[in-house]
C-alpha cells in the first residue's frame, strides 16, 4: 500500500544532538536512530523536548551541537526546504495544513518539488490511500474535522514519496477510534512497506503497540529506551506511563 506512496527508507540518525531556541538548549546530547521498515517512537511528559527534538531534525529549530544524518547526507542545520528534497516528510503536531487552501491545493503544495506532470498522478495515489479525502477536494482545509485534517497532513507529506516520515503527535485531539486506525493501519503500514518512521506520541500504550523501538525523553535527555516488550516490563516506565502508579501524563 505505502510502497506506492513512499520510497525505500533511509536511516535517520541523530548523534549527540543538542537543540533549542535563542542559543538555549532544550534537548541535550540525544542520540537516536530510526531505520527502514521500523517505527521508532518517542514518549515523554509535556515539556520534555519531544517536539523540539523532531523540529531540530527537520531544520525548523537550530541544532546547537551534534549531528543529524539521513542516509549518507549530513543534514545538520540544513534548511527545511532542503531537508524536504532529501525525502524527509514532516507532519507537525499543530498547524499541519494550510487552512485557507483547499484540500486539492494542500496536496498540490505537498507536491511542490515534483515535476508538474507528475502531480496529478501523485494526488491520485494519495487519494487511494486516503479515499475519504476524495469527496472533499474543493473544501478548505480549515473546515475539516480533526481526523480529516490529519489525513490531509499525512497526504501532503506523502506527495513527495518520502523515505523518512517524522510525525509529531499525529493522534493529538483525535477520537480514540480514529487515532487507533491512524497509528495501526496507516503509520504501521508505512513502516511495513519499508519506510522509516519516527513518531512522537503522547499515548504511551498506543505508541508501544505500533513501535519497534521506543525512547523515553525526560528533561530533554533520553532517560530510557528499548523495544516495547522490555519497556512494558520496566517498573519505572510502567509507573510513569502505563498507569502502574501515579501517572505523570
Amino acid at each position: 500500500m505505502s510502497g506506492d506512496l513512499s520510497t525505500p527508507g533511509q536511516i535517520l540518525r541523530a548523534t549527540g544532538l543538542s537543540a533549542g531556541y535563542d542559543g538555549r538548549a532544550i534537548v541535550h546530547d540525544v542520540s537516536i536512530e530510526a531505520t527502514p521498515g521500523k517505527v521508532v517512537s518517542i514518549v515523554g511528559p509535556n515539556g520534555s523536548g519531544k517536539s523540539t527534538l523532531l523540529k531540530s531534525l527537520v531544520g525548523v529549530v537550530p541544532v546547537l551541537g551534534g549531528t543529524v544524518n539521513v542516509g549518507d547526507a549530513d543534514i545538520t542545520n540544513m534548511t527545511p526546504e532542503r531537508v524536504a528534497t532529501l525525502g524527509v516528510g514532516y507532519v507537525p503536531q499543530i498547524d499541519d495544513v494550510f487552512p485557507p487552501l483547499t484540500v486539492k491545493e494542500n496536496l498540490d503544495i505537498g507536491g511542490y518539488l515534483l515535476p508538474r506532470h507528475e502531480v496529478g498522478a501523485r494526488i491520485e495515489a494519495v487519494l487511494e490511500f486516503f479515499p475519504r479525502l476524495k469527496t472533499m477536494m474543493s473544501r478548505r482545509a480549515g473546515k475539516l474535522s480533526g481526523g480529516e485534517r490529519k489525513m490531509l497532513a499525512m497526504g501532503r507529506v506523502l506527495m513527495l514519496r518520502p523515505s523518512v516520515l517524522v510525525l509529531d503527535e499525529p493522534t493529538a485531539n483525535l477520537a480514540p477510534l480514529v487515532a487507533t486506525q491512524l497509528l495501526e493501519e496507516y503509520i504501521r503500514g508505512f513502516a511495513e512497506k519499508g519506510s522509516t518512521v519516527l513518531l512522537v506520541e503522547q499515548r504511551a500504550k498506543a505508541a508501544l503497540r505500533v513501535s519497534d523501538w521506543t525512547c523515553v525523553l525526560g528533561g530533554g535527555r533520553v532517560v530510557l529506551e528499548g523495544p516495547p516488550s522490555d519497556l512494558e516490563n520496566n517498573p519505572i516506565f510502567v509507573e510513569s506511563f502505563l498507569g502502574g502508579g501515579a501517572p505523570r501524563r
Binding site: 527545511p80 507537525p92 495544513v97 498540490d108 503544495i109 511542490y112 513527495l160
Partner: protein
C-alpha cells in the same frame, strides 16, 4: 439623482485605481507581515518615472506606463530586501517595522520633492472624448483605466488560484514553516511577491496620477488612508476582500463628495477604517492573515 449618478461614476474610477493599489498592498502584508506605509511614496515615484518618460523622452503615456510599473517592482523589491528584511531578521516588534516604513515613506516623498520641486505636473496625454452611460460620465482615459484594472485583477486572481507560484504565495502566507517543510523556497516566493505587488503599486501610482490630471510629489500622501480603509474593510491579507473594500471605499468617498465638501471626502474613509477596527478588525472576509 443626477449628482448621485455622476458621483457614482467618479467612484468607479477611484475604485478601479484603489483596487489595483490595495491588492498589491495587502499581498505584501499577507506574505511578509509588513504594513508597508511607504506604498504611497513608491506609487508617486513610479508616476514621476512615467511622467519623465512621457514628457521628456516623448514616449506615448501608455508605453511610458511600463517604466512606472518597472520602477514600482524594482523599488519595492529593494526596499524589502535592504530595509524591511534586515529589521525583520532581528525579530523586532511589528510597530518597529511600521515606524521604519513611515520613515521610508517620508524619505521617498520628500526626497522626490527635493528633486522635482513643489510644482504641479501633468502627463502629455489627452483624456479623450467623453462617454455618457446611465447618467455617469467617463473620459476615454478613465474607461481605459477601469479596463486595465479589470484585466489586471483578473490576472491576479488567475495567478493566486491556478499557478504554482500563486499557491506557494498563499501557502507561505498561511504557514511559512509548513511551506518550507513542503519544499517551498519561501524567500524566493517573498521576493517575487514584492516584485509583483510593487508592479501593481507602480501601475496604480501612474493611473492615479493620470486620473488626477495634475499631481505633485505629495499627491499620494493621504492615499495611504484609503488603502488602509479598503484593506481593513475587506480583511487584512485578503486580496479578494481588498477588491471589494476598494470598490466600497472608492464609491463611498466619491458619492459622499457629491453631497459634502469634496475636501473632506477622505473623512469617510477614516470613519470606515475606525469602524472596522472597532467592530470587525479582521474585515468582511478575513478570519486570519491569509492570501
Amino acid at each position: 439623482m443626477s449628482v448621485f449618478l455622476s458621483s457614482l461614476g467618479f467612484g468607479l474610477i477611484t475604485a478601479a485605481v484603489l483596487a489595483l493599489a490595495t491588492v498589491g498592498f495587502t499581498m505584501q502584508f499577507a506574505v511578509t507581515n509588513v504594513l508597508n506605509l511607504a506604498y504611497g511614496s513608491v506609487m508617486i515615484n513610479s508616476a514621476f518615472v512615467t511622467y519623465f518618460l512621457n514628457v521628456h523622452t516623448r514616449l506615448n503615456a501608455w508605453v511610458a506606463l511600463g517604466g512606472g510599473v518597472a520602477t514600482g517592482a524594482i523599488v519595492s523589491y529593494l526596499i524589502n530586501r535592504f530595509i524591511f528584511t534586515p529589521f525583520q531578521r532581528r525579530n523586532l516588534p511589528p510597530i518597529t517595522i511600521v515606524m521604519v516604513a513611515l520613515g521610508v515613506d517620508l524619505c521617498g516623498t520628500f526626497g522626490l520633492q527635493a528633486i522635482v520641486g513643489g510644482s504641479y505636473f501633468s502627463f502629455r496625454q489627452s483624456p479623450g472624448r467623453l462617454w455618457h452611460f446611465w447618467g455617469m460620465y467617463f473620459s476615454t482615459l478613465q474607461l481605459t483605466i477601469i479596463g486595465i484594472a479589470v484585466v489586471v485583477l483578473a490576472l491576479v486572481h488567475w495567478l493566486l488560484k491556478y499557478t504554482r507560484l500563486g499557491k506557494a504565495m498563499r501557502a507561505t502566507s498561511a504557514n511559512m514553516n509548513l511551506a518550507r517543510n513542503s519544499g517551498v523556497r519561501t524567500q524566493m516566493v517573498i521576493s517575487t511577491t514584492w516584485i509583483i505587488s510593487g508592479a501593481l503599486c507602480g501601475l496604480a501610482g501612474t493611473v492615479f496620477a493620470m486620473d488626477t490630471g495634475v499631481f505633485d510629489a505629495t499627491s499620494a500622501q493621504l492615499y495611504i488612508v484609503l488603502l488602509l480603509a479598503a484593506m481593513f474593510l475587506g480583511g487584512p491579507g485578503e486580496p479578494y476582500g481588498a477588491m471589494l473594500g476598494a470598490v466600497t471605499i472608492g464609491v463611498a468617498t466619491e458619492v459622499s463628495a457629491g453631497f459634502i465638501n469634496p475636501q473632506y471626502k477622505e473623512v469617510i474613509a477614516f470613519v470606515v477604517l475606525i469602524g472596522m477596527l472597532m467592530f470587525r478588525p479582521y474585515g468582511i472576509f478575513g478570519k486570519e492573515k491569509t492570501l
